[in-house]
């Protein structure tokens, strides 16, 4: 049974509660964290409640669940939510990671100022991301896209960790906003030819876009998404933003916000501009490999925990682009699955890094050693995340990685796929170096008195680490949704 207006509630509820918390902050104070966690969790529950019906409908050959609310009548734009096999898993992982970040913040941010306003921003940020995935039309897509920018900017520039936070926040804002504007230009151009913003109608009307304009619009949208995903060479905002944001926000930025760009590629480019995707396939694959290798090499050069993870995210976005760029069922399936798996692993790693920073007060990898003796739970969880990202089965990210590269072969891009797999060596290299450096070896004097993080910090970490193992052992849980989604997308795009 679906809760009435489930999608609307799942999207709007966090922002609404966020506003209430902000207004009533004087009365709420310390309880803000718990209230917000419960709100975010209820959003997760609402999304979960739609899972079964979505699957049933797909299997029965029915149309996906659509909610329509009249909005701007004169130009016939509705406020609507499209819940199908593609949007549901992505929004679910967004909501889950946001909830866990919120829970993690309760302990991690307890000494910070203006907590209610922090949580309000976090929830509005979450609404932005969930809204993007559920949007039924491009106007709404853009609206939520920008909605996630403002609170995240405030979170970085207000609660950031260093003195440079204002500059960095500004850079982040300008960069992603420019990307969004390019995307807006693309969206408006699409409308001028097809006279619709509706994502369910667009694939059918794609033919109305003249062939000389299609590459232009495609590029505009692609640039918008690539800025969000921090693909090379549009990545320079990411290392700063992700390493300076407070850790729970880093987990959200790296874990799920980047994925909105990937979702955009799947939702708009593959459905409307399939032919262009196939045309651009080789260039995109080259870009993906450069992003993978470059991000990996940059991560290898870092000594700051969070900066290393930030560059690692850039590298991982390369994997996702690779899968989409192959335009094959297997590749798309891998990329969609990697959206989920990377979200879990990267959020887990950022939270572990946060736990280390919280307990040791240090961020420099070189000044750490032997921490697994002092922080066994964090250490083990972190190792799980690391091995998962390095592509070791039976952990979750392995499944998506081989699918991505197998997709490359299925599309006949043999050389690219070989180089792609070989470049995973770099990923393994920097992650394992990080693990061995931080967790093994003798405990230095300066870390003698370090203790394991408080349980409240560990809950989120344990949940994510278990998710990594569970999804590694039963990858079918998400594949139930993703396999049909990938089939539909590759069919629409006309790929192999």
């Amino acid at each position: 049974m679906i809760v009435p207006h489930a999608a609307l509630l799942a999207t709007i509820l966090p922002a609404a509660v966020g506003l209430v918390v902000y207004i009533l902050q004087r009365y709420i104070k310390e309880k803000a964290g718990w209230i917000c966690t419960i709100t975010a969790a209820s959003s997760v529950a609402l999304i979960l409640s739609m899972a079964k019906p979505v699957l049933d409908r797909y299997n029965n050959g029915d149309k996906p669940i659509v909610y329509i609310y009249p909005w701007i009548k004169p130009i016939n734009i509705n406020f609507g939510f499209l819940v199908d096999v593609l949007s549901l898993p992505v929004s679910l992982i967004i909501a889950v990671v946001s909830t866990l970040s919120c829970l993690y913040s309760i302990k991690y941010m307890e000494k910070e100022q203006n907590q209610p306003s922090y949580y309000a921003n976090l929830l509005i940020f979450m609404t932005g991301m969930v809204g993007v995935t559920f949007s039924i039309n491009l106007v709404q897509f853009y609206l939520f896209w920008e909605l996630m920018l403002i609170p995240s900017y405030l979170l970085i520039s207000q609660w950031g960790t260093s003195r440079r936070r204002l500059t960095i926040g500004f850079k982040y804002f300008i960069f992603t906003h420019m990307g969004a504007l390019l995307m807006l230009l693309g969206i408006l151009s699409i409308f001028s030819y097809t006279m619709t913003f509706d994502l369910t109608e667009l694939p059918l009307k794609a033919g109305a876009i003249p062939s000389n304009m299609a590459p232009v619009i495609f590029t505009l949208l692609l640039l918008g998404f690539f800025v969000k995903m921090a693909a090379f060479p549009l990545h320079t905002w990411l290392p700063d933003a992700h390493s300076e944001a407070p850790t729970p926000i880093s987990a959200m930025l790296s874990g799920v916000m980047l994925k909105c760009g990937a979702y955009g590629i799947a939702r708009i480019l593959l459905t409307v501009f399939g032919a262009r995707m196939i045309q651009a396939s080789d260039y995109l694959l080259v870009l993906a490999i450069i992003t993978m290798v470059y991000g990996g090499l940059m991560a290898m050069a870092q000594t700051d925990i969070k900066r290393l993870l930030a560059y690692s995210s850039i590298s991982q976005m390369g994997y996702i682009i690779f899968g989409f760029a192959t335009v094959s069922t297997l590749g798309i399936m891998g990329s969609l699955l990697h959206i989920i798996n990377h979200a879990i692993c990267k959020a887990l790693l950022f939270m572990c890094a946060g736990s280390i920073i919280h307990q040791t007060g240090k961020r420099n990898i070189r000044s750490m050693s032997g921490l697994i003796t002092k922080m066994p739970v964090t250490g083990l969880a972190c190792l799980i995340g690391i091995f998962s990202l390095a592509g070791a089965p039976p952990l979750n990210a392995f499944w998506s990685e081989w699918m991505i590269f197998s997709g490359g072969l299925a599309a006949g891009k043999v050389a690219f796929a070989f180089i792609g797999v070989a470049s995973t060596m770099i990923t393994a290299g920097y992650l394992l170096w990080f693990a061995w450096r931080v967790f093994f070896g003798p405990v230095p004097k300066s870390l003698k008195n370090v203790k394991e993080s408080p349980p409240l910090l560990l809950v989120s970490i344990i949940v994510l680490a278990s998710a990594s193992i569970i999804l590694g052992v039963w990858p079918g849980i998400f594949l139930e949704f993703i396999t049909p989604a990938a089939e539909v997308l590759s069919e629409l795009a006309g790929g192999s």
Partner: protein, 690 residues
């Protein structure tokens, strides 16, 4: 029934692994974890023994789980997988009992038993999996377990780093194997071994795309990585040095030859049906095995750490297996090489285990890990164990090594003969070349085998206090010794049995009975050469290390080149250095890139670039606006406004006179107005519709 057995067989140790930390949390007895570990692995052994009868009947059974398309889970029972399952769980069981004594109440025992059981479980997955994907999962589980066993004493930075190195080297092989697996899936649409062999269309497709050789070499890269073959052989010494009770590595690297044996029929079929590029593949397999065999035997001659000697000897013997399997692919029929390879695989599992455990036993008692510090230690059990193992290793008749080595060498010679008739010169030379390398390896093996024994059991009296060896260690060791001795001495009897067992795979009877074996092996060139090599290597070694007529130190001082060669091998041919240089190079490259491209780029891209472009743009806009504000806004519009204002004010002051009622002017203006109106009406009247 059998279906459940084959699944439970590998699930039991995995479940046991999960239970170990629980025991720790509940605070139950200190030894309970060990008992749990031993019994779960023992149960696996029992279950794998239950699978033997159908395998004896030559049946091939595939139990598949019904899962969504790109995923495949299933268990395959055929002679090879059952044999390996019995081997893995059997030796695993012995090692578990041995480790139970070795680890005892060590504070890290929870970790140890967790990893140990997971290791066995992963290993059983490798050998029982019916498809490449599921096998790869086991493959990686085993790899990770190895890494953690190596870093068992993680508080010691050096030992911790060994684990890092092991993992990195293994990963190179794993990535190569993964490339092969995804390639096969992309072309065949399945991972299943049986489907792959039934429908070989994928080979045709691969060959058409021109990547058959590349992908088969990728496959072999995976084998090399796991089997500790050149150039990825250096992880095994590191692992044996780091691992407590050192015993897991042995079965770990047998996964390499197992995989080769598993896939050999696939490649062979393709080769026979005319895909000539696979000649290079099989030659690579055979030569890599032979070269590794010789190289690692040479490396073993110079080591001081007993476990390093063990490691190189294992690599060396696995080299023999791979040579045999490579020859099986090239020969006129698969039977001899395949049987030789799998027989060595089976027997060596026991021999190497025995060899490792005997050195561990000695190291444990004398609390030292240096061969030169063990002299004077007496233990009959360890001595006999090492004798049996070393004699088998160095091809002393009638121990197993003698029969098996000669078998492989004869196959190499046969290859030359057959190829000589068809005129394929590369194969002729390869056959002879391989034969020579194998003989040389035999000689070097004899040298280091006797050196090992000579150094450990040198006469003298051991002064320091010895550690008492726990009972479980001696009991398990004695059991292993007895089993190995039986297997070792009955090899000629076992060879026909193996032939019968693998008949469904090889399809031909090579040896009817033991007389066939003796007739095939004894009167051959190979035997003479082997014995000669044994005599030379053994003689030199016994003079140096057993009778001690010459002092190796003196010889090295006299002859500089010998000491140089010794140093070269002692430093492991600088292969480890090479790995480190590569790793170092990658890190340096990344740092340079970071400093000179990423950071510098951000700094210098100010004008044309991407990142700080906005800063510059804003700066430009700011200066533009700063110029604009005084010159355009203030000097232009603002001034215009001012001028207008002033002008209007002046005007109005002048016009004020008009408004105040000077009649004559009013009248005049009115008149002019009337005239203008009249003229306009006349001119535009029609147009204005009046």
């Amino acid at each position: 029934m059998l279906q459940y057995v084959s699944w439970i067989c590998w699930i039991v140790p995995a479940a046991g692994a999960l239970a170990v930390p629980l025991i720790n949390i509940l605070g139950a007895g200190k030894k309970l974890q060990g008992y749990l570990g031993v019994s779960s692995i023992g149960l696996s052994l029992l279950l794998s023994l239950l699978m033997v009868p159908p395998a004896l009947r030559g049946e091939t059974i595939d139990f598949q789980l019904d899962v969504a398309s790109p995923l495949e889970f299933g268990v395959l029972l055929d002679p090879l997988s059952v044999l390996m399952a019995v081997l893995v769980s059997g030796i695993g069981f012995v090692i578990a009992i041995f480790s139970h004594g070795f680890i005892g109440e060590d504070p890290g025992r929870t970790r140890f038993w967790f990893i140990m059981q997971l290791f066995i479980s992963g290993y059983l997955i490798i050998v029982l999996a019916d498809n490449l994907l599921f096998m790869f999962i086991g493959w990686e589980i085993v790899g990770i377990c190895c890494t953690y066993l190596t870093s068992y004493e993680y508080r010691n930075r050096n030992k911790a780093n060994l684990g890092f190195r092991v993992n990195t080297i293994l990963r190179v092989g794993d990535i190569a194997l993964l490339i092969f697996i995804v390639t096969v899936y992309a072309y065949a649409g399945t991972f299943n071994f049986l489907s792959l062999s039934e429908n070989s269309n994928w080979v045709v497709q691969l060959s058409r795309s021109g990547i058959l050789l590349v992908s088969s070499l990728m496959f072999f890269g995976g084998v090399i990585g796991k089997a500790a073959q050149f150039p990825l052989h250096e992880w095994l010494p590191d692992m044996l040095v780091g691992t407590p009770s050192s015993s897991n590595a042995l079965t770990e690297c047998l996964a390499g030859p197992y995989l080769m044996a598993r896939a050999l029929p696939l490649f062979r079929e393709a080769y026979v049906s005319g895909f000539g590029e696979l000649t290079s593949f099989f030659l690579t397999v055979a030569w890599t095995g032979a070269v590794t065999g010789l190289l690692t035997a040479l490396l073993a001659t110079a080591q001081r750490h007993p476990q390093r000697v063990m490691a190189y000897s294992i690599s060396s013997i696995i080299g023999f297996m791979l040579t045999a399997l490579g020859l099986a692919g090239l020969s006129s029929d698969i039977a001899s090489g395949y049987l030789a390879g799998t027989t060595i695989l089976t027997i060596d599992a026991f021999v190497s285990a025995l060899l490792i455990l005997s050195t561990v036993l000695v190291s444990y008692a004398v609390k030292s890990e240096d061969l030169y510090h063990m002299s004077g230690y007496h233990s009959k059990l360890a001595h006999h164990g090492m004798e049996v193992a070393v004699f088998a290793m160095i091809n002393v008749p009638p121990f197993s090594g003698f029969w098996l080595c000669n078998w492989v060498q004869s196959v190499a010679l046969e290859l030359s003969h057959v190829a000589g008739q068809t005129g394929d010169l590369s194969l002729v030379y390869s056959g002879y070349g391989l034969f020579v390398v194998l003989i040389l390896t035999g000689g070097v093996t004899a040298f280091y085998g006797l050196r090992l024994m000579g150094l450990i059991f040198r006469k003298g009296s051991y002064k320091r206090k010895l550690r008492e060896i726990p009972r479980s260690m001696t009991v398990s060791f004695a059991a292993l010794l007895a089993t190995t001795m039986v297997l070792d001495l009955t090899v000629p009897l076992l060879m026909p049995l193996f032939n019968k067992y693998f008949l469904p795979t090889v399809g031909r009877v090579v040896f009817q009975n033991v007389f066939d074996v003796i007739w095939y092996i004894i009167p051959s060139v190979s035997t003479a050469a082997t014995l000669l090599a044994l005599a030379v290597g053994g003689y030199v070694s016994s003079q140096l290390y057993i009778t001690r007529k010459f002092d190796p130190g003196n010889i090295m001082n006299k002859h500089r080149f010998i000491s140089r060669i010794h140093a070269f091998f002692l430093n492991r041919c600088y292969v480890v250095r090479l790995y480190e240089e590569i790793g170092h190079g990658a890190v340096m490259l990344s740092r340079k890139l970071y400093r000179n491209v990423e950071m510098e780029g951000i700094r210098t891209f100010k004008i044309s670039g991407i990142s700080e472009f906005f800063d510059v743009a804003i700066l430009w806009m700011a200066s533009f606006s700063q110029w604009m504000y005084p010159s355009i806004e203030l000097g232009g519009f603002e001034r215009l406004n001012q001028v207008l204002l002033e002008g209007v004010t002046k005007m109005s002051q002048k016009i004020r006179a008009v408004q105040t009622g000077v009649l004559s002017i009013n009248m005049l203006v009115m008149l002019i107005g009337a005239v203008v109106l009249a003229v306009s009406l006349m001119l535009f009247g029609g147009f204005m519709g009046v």
